[in-house]
Symmetry: C2
Subunit: 589 residues, 2 copies
């Protein structure tokens, strides 16, 4: 039989190809018999085209096509013809043409697939994950992975032009139990010892700067053995970079241009540069979040000064204990039913708020459980600060712990934004959040922990606070936030051995612990370390944002479930006794 060699892709044929002899290969999307003809929509990665089997053109092909069903893989040779006006299908990009088949070769048969290759096929995600190779045939999935690929391609081009080189760092590394839980890999050659899989290439990229590579990047897998939430996977991909001899502004400027380029070339979105910049403190004060969604307003206001002398005990307690009273104004929401207010009270409890106070600014006057505790002047100052008009709803949180106030109001703001459709899905708001605190105090561990990681540099002007008031020291750390999602984050690193040692001490490490865990790193900094810093992006999250999905499994070709299981291959699995013996380990249930 004649050997067929593909000449065109299905979705790329146009009116310009009319009368051409073409060879196409692809999957049968659907088959239709009509008036003694067989019509098939043939699918490849570029799209669909209708191919027509007609006994008059080729009896052999016509006979052969009788057995063809959905998802068969075909090679066809035929001529491109223009469709008559009445048969034009505007739903198809190629809907003005079709191919009259002269030769048909069935490359593969298909059993009836467990579900059709269609968008909105109403199939449970578990089934789609089990038959991932079928689900990935959907045009939207193909498009997603094309977008993901384009992101990495543009990033690579951009970083190359800016002098970065891609250097691979190891997967089998030393376990340093600080941060999330490591995945461990038992060593066969060194009984009882383990490698860890990297949570990030952090240490190695810093060592590459010490090695003089000047500008490094890598798009690489990182792994964390954590309990998974909806937007987490055990393995995820970072766009990771590090540069020497630079400061914060150099990194922000280089990176915002990169992201603007991605949005322009992939989504045709014009991004105005520079991005907005905001300190961590400002972000918390105005939006109750270090990753504010700037697509809508509804900012937090501090009412502490106004209510500091009122007779409402909850407010008083919060304020006396160094806490605060803050609020948002949900415009036009005054008429909210009591049932919904109760829901919101439950909602804020998730964020540890003990309660929520509301003020309904009704046509007929103020309605609020705290009205009786406030003087007219206090109430009127509140309304003024909240810029409240008739019809507005003010939601207030008081707590002695400011982070509870921020967190619950920040989430309440987002919730109200969603409920009242205040978020324009077609809008992108880009933001740098700067000057994160260097340390946070962990009540659990009764010590300071690094907010970013222990290699983050304090701001020069806060250096002297390291001893007197470590909690107030700000870091040279920055996050890139798009539409309320933290897309990337990084910092300028410490490049001074003494400062690094001091940092480890503040984090509560003994000299021995420093030597044991980070000895090689502390040593490395002794031999000429350049000032350096970097940033890492979550490629999965960035792809989610750019493809408009909220399911991380949609942007990973072969993802795992929330139990870290691959439903397709059934991994993890039992292994043989022999394998375990070689690794000198035993299962202990």
């Amino acid at each position: 039989m004649e050997k067929l060699k593909r000449t065109h892709m299905c979705g790329e044929l146009t009116l310009d190809d009319i009368n051409k002899e073409v060879v196409l290969m692809g999957w049968v999307q659907k088959r239709r018999d009509l008036g003694g003809l067989v019509f098939i929509e043939l699918r490849d990665r570029t799209g669909l085209i209708q191919i027509v089997f007609n006994e008059q053109i080729s009896k052999e092909a016509f006979d052969k096509v009788q057995s063809v069903r959905t998802e068969y893989v075909l090679a066809v040779k035929g001529k491109v013809v223009k469709r008559s006006d009445e048969t034009i299908n505007l739903k198809l990009k190629t809907g003005k043409i079709e191919v009259y088949v002269e030769t048909l070769k069935i490359l593969s048969k298909s059993e009836t697939p467990p579900f059709m290759v269609e968008e909105d096929n109403n199939v449970s995600e578990a089934v789609r994950l089990k038959f991932r190779y079928i689900d990935l045939r959907r045009p939207s999935m193909q498009k997603t992975f094309m977008t993901r690929y384009k992101i990495t391609k543009l990033v690579r081009e951009y970083l190359d032009k800016n002098g970065f080189i891609d250097i691979e760092t190891p997967l089998l590394i030393r376990s340093t139990p600080e941060g999330a839980r490591d995945y461990l890999v038992p060593s066969r050659v060194q009984p009882g010892k383990f490698y860890a899989l990297p949570q990030s290439p952090q240490i190695f990229k810093q060592l590459l700067m010490l090695s003089g590579f000047d500008r490094y990047y890598q798009i690489t897998k990182c792994l964390r053995d954590e309990d998974l939430r909806a937007d987490r996977q055990p393995e995820f991909t970072q766009i990771d970079m590090e540069m020497s001899f630079i400061d914060v502004d150099d990194i922000l400027s280089l990176n915002e241009k990169m992201i603007a380029k991605l949005f322009k070339e992939i989504l045709d979105v014009d991004v105005s540069l520079p991005f907005k910049r905001m300190t961590y403190q400002e972000a918390m004060d105005r939006f109750g979040s270090d990753k504010p969604d700037m697509r809508f307003d509804m900012q937090l206001k501090d009412l502490t000064d106004i209510v500091s002398n009122c007779s409402f005990k909850v407010f008083n307690d919060a304020i006396l204990n160094k806490g605060s009273v803050r609020a948002i104004n949900v415009k036009g929401a005054a008429a909210i039913p009591r049932r919904q207010i109760d829901e919101l009270i439950e909602f804020v409890k998730t964020y540890k708020a003990k309660g929520m106070v509301w003020i309904q600014v009704m046509e007929e006057g103020i309605k609020s459980p705290v009205a009786k505790f406030l003087t007219d002047e206090e109430m009127s100052l509140i309304l003024k600060r909240m810029e409240a008009d008739k019809g507005d709803l003010i939601l207030m949180i008081a707590d002695k712990n400011n982070s509870v106030v921020y967190d619950s109001l920040g989430h309440l703001r987002l919730e109200m934004g969603r409920r009242f459709n205040l978020i324009d899905k077609n809008k992108y708001e880009f933001l740098w959040v700067l000057d994160f605190p260097l340390l946070e105090y962990s009540e659990e561990e009764k010590r300071y922990v690094a907010m970013h990681h222990p290699f983050t540099s304090p701001k020069d002007e806060d250096l002297e606070l390291l001893d007197s008031n470590p909690g107030s020291v700000r870091a040279k750390a920055y996050d890139m936030v798009i539409n309320g999602v933290e897309i990337g984050g990084g910092s300028i690193r410490i490049h001074d051995t003494e400062l690094q040692k001091k940092m480890f001490k503040i984090l509560g490490f003994s000299d021995e612990a420093i030597q044991e865990r980070f000895g090689f790193l502390v040593d490395a900094f002794k031999y000429g370390a350049p000032p350096h810093g970097g940033i890492a992006y979550g490629l999965d999250r960035l792809t989610m944002l750019m493809t408009g999905t909220e399911n991380i499994r949609d942007v990973i070709a072969f993802p795992k479930t929330q139990n870290a299981v691959c439903l397709m291959t059934d991994a993890p699995s039992l292994v043989s006794e022999g394998q375990l013996e070689e690794l000198h380990i035993k299962i202990e249930k």
Copy 2:
């Protein structure tokens, strides 16, 4: 103090920059005091430049530089000036200029490093690996990783232009104990179960073809828990690709063009296309190897027919047992001392040859221990076939096992090529080896094993031999060989479920074993599989070849020793009891 912002890289300044005010940053390569001046060679990734401190120009900088030592990190501002003719240093690319320093900032101090950043520093590899971040500062190391990066960059560009998209496959996969030993990762969520780290993305890339992605590539880490040889590492990097709707010639043609592009753009080597092609059988017959080094001749010749009736028992035994007698001619080596012949006899024993026969074609006549067993006619036929002239040395191997004959003569050929300097180090010889056997019989396991892997397609014309004579079936498999190194290999895959099942059965898998190990894959092929095939390159080996090193650790930024240990971070290491408990495993020494 004035904030300095780098304006130029050290190695990139030229005569065109004379009189420019520049800011440079880098490491102190060396410092020299002469005539009241201080000269420093400053180093960054691009190279070295001499900077000069003169009290007349800046007393402050001059005073400050007194404390500066090797490997200090400096920022300097100064003016580029032309060196006087007598001070030109032709060893430096920037040797015609120098920079008169006006401002000096010491960015980092350095203790005396454990070794100097110099080529040929005579430091043991163990020390260099421990202080890898210093060793990587050597210009040759910087160049190696630049070359490695250029390879990946050019590959990505080329594959992109040819319609390939980069799709990531998982690191945590299911263990399928066929092939090399898996690295295992205990699951915390599923007690007693394990993930494996991938030995290759083979199964996933095939599933991507079934998913309709058409052309996939990935530059990705693969891991094998094997005892390491000099050219192996526990983790290595593959350039991996797969394409649909193609046959062998499409893949060879696309790939040889890619490799030619790499050699042209990186080494300025013109590669003539197409590459030479040779079947596996021809490669074995002519070079005794499936990866022949074609940079020199010295081909194997089959002498079986000539000596089949001679009176030498060793030859007779080999031939009667379906073996053969083959030889190489080492031109001009007849005068080799007996001691060296004895060495060669020991050498071939490594490859299981029981002995070696030699014929010295001396000025004064033939000298050979087997001369007495051969008639004059036989000897003259041998000399004729071997194209032997006076002064030549013929080395013969006989064995009942042909693979021993090939293997020992093939290695002997390489050894003689090295000893007699027949290999031109500046020459590159490119070759495709085709038509590998599909199966090899494993005496150990008493069954056929896949020579490539179980998904490799047999050649169409050999399909009927699968039942009658599986050992003789040739595969649609190919290796790319450069200078005797297997740089890449691949195959057209089986895309027919029934054939795949048959293949598993020939490999001795029971129905249950097939279902248990490869069930999801066999299922996947039921729903419309396109014909497809691919290839994978060892990036480490390719980089070694292109940078001219024979040490794989030279092309990996943070490599492991032959005990799979990282000497810098001391991985693998002990982990805490708590970590093991969470993973439900126990160490059993």
